[in-house]
Symmetry: C2
Subunit: 289 residues, 2 copies
């Protein structure tokens, strides 16, 4: 049993905190007092079953065996000073989309793990989510000399209904997820459609292929392999709404800067399709009609 | 007083038929029996004032002094055989957006006039429109040797509240309108916004500028001049919804093939922004969620 701090209880954080609480001692860190109170009063509800975890709005983290960062990319900047106060031997697992955060956390003295959450989770309320598709959490060490620790932690976290897998080169896994996100997220956000429409609408499929090609080229991933993965994810999650579409609908800031913006920054070439969707999602963020 | 046939009573056709009926004998040609009956029974209503005109669903045109074609571009193909039966001295005025139709009507033996309708007209019902902005109808001869006829007809049609102006090089006027349409129409259709948003949203403005540049380059128009015109139209019609957005909302086919599709066909270069909006409007047409 580990003592785990989960930072940020959005859809992913709620699911992870509730899953890990079956075997570990979990403390959730949130910013809003109302959310903290709801979770204290009613627990975290995952598809009608409730789990109680400790929750606090404290900005200072307690001693933990592992800290899991489940916030969005844009929250990382403000988190860094807090993380610098955490004991230097405490492993920290980052579960953000994209890769923009890696350079920001590179200097931290702690064992840094990077991970990808493949579960399909939909947030229903501040303390309630629904699991639409069970995936895996894939994780790995940012620095090679923490590879063994990454294996240990993945085994310690593993549960049958909460699979965790260690990957030697986690940045490859992050790259592959980034490509999928850079295609499905902006198209569904612009067109206000479910993930499945990307493969059933000929023109969305055409744009998706072009976006995949540009992203794969930029991140040195085989284009056909990348396209196959985009196709699979769109198919497997065809009834779902992407997180970027949900952000647009809720008038929240999207992660476009950390997904398509990151690819554009990485590329030395002009990427016409990535550039267009970048500006279009930004335009959508700005439209408040 | 002329005897004028107006073919197609959409927003533009209804307004033109009703305006001309004050001074001329007008016959409207429509396809649907229900629309014919509504116009026969209630007249054409423009902002609460009604005008009665003859209307018929006949596919054969009577003798007229002038025929004005107010259908959309896509109806031109099916109209050609009917027009070939019209007396070869009858002038025909085409008021379509874009220029794709010009090559199709080039062979007709009649005096061909091309025109641009700048009025802001919104269709309310099959027999009712609202005039949101009084513009001009600009017309000119397709072939130089009909230039004088074009002047005569513009003078004959002219009314204080229905200004008509002859232009020596009408294709320049068509080009300029095409550029504006290739920017405002697709962006408003994709983003489901009023024309004015294109200048108030920084990212839409960015995309608009890129689209203008590509279109101006393709049609040999000065880029700054073209941009100034786009800016003006977006400003002057800021509260309006574009025809392409209205088509998308009503689940009708849009004129994208004759606007952005025409520019893409004309260009020997790859136009990244025009290409993207082309596929995006096509995607919108296909999405029926």
């Amino acid at each position: 049993m580990m003592n785990i701090g989960v930072i940020g209880l959005g859809a992913v954080g709620l699911f992870i905190a509730s899953s890990l609480a079956k075997r570990h001692e979990v403390t959730g860190y949130v910013r809003r007092e109302e959310q903290a109170n709801e979770i204290k009063d009613q627990g975290i509800i995952v598809d009608n079953s409730e789990t109680f975890v400790s929750v606090t709005t404290s900005q200072k983290f307690k001693e933990h065996d592992l800290i899991i960062i489940c916030t969005k990319q844009m929250a990382i900047d403000t988190l860094i000073p807090t993380l610098e106060l955490v004991g230097r031997h405490t492993p920290i697992l980052f579960l953000q989309n994209g890769q923009g955060h890696i350079e920001k956390i590179h200097h931290l003295p702690h064992p840094i793990l990077l991970g990808v959450c493949e579960h399909g989770i939909v947030k229903i309320k501040d303390n309630e989510v629904s699991l639409k598709g069970l995936g895996k959490i894939r994780l790995g060490a940012l620095h090679k000399h923490h590879a063994e620790l990454a294996v240990d932690i993945s085994l310690a976290l593993y549960q049958l209904d909460f699979p965790v897998k260690e990957h030697g080169s986690i940045t490859d896994v992050l790259n592959r997820k980034l490509i999928v996100n850079s295609v499905i997220n902006p198209l569904t956000a612009i067109f206000n459609c479910r993930n499945g429409s990307i493969m059933t609408n000929d023109h969305l499929k055409y744009l998706a292929k072009k976006l995949t090609k540009e992203a794969a080229m930029t991140l040195n991933v085989d284009e056909d392999e990348a396209w196959e993965r985009v196709r699979q994810v769109a198919e497997q999650t065809k009834e779902n709404y992407s997180s970027m579409l949900s952000d647009i609908q809720a008038k929240r800031q999207t992660e476009i800067d950390f997904i398509n913006g990151y690819i554009l920054k990485k590329s030395s070439d002009f990427l016409p399709y990535q550039t267009n969707v970048y500006h279009m999602v930004k335009a959508k963020e700005g439209l408040r009609e």
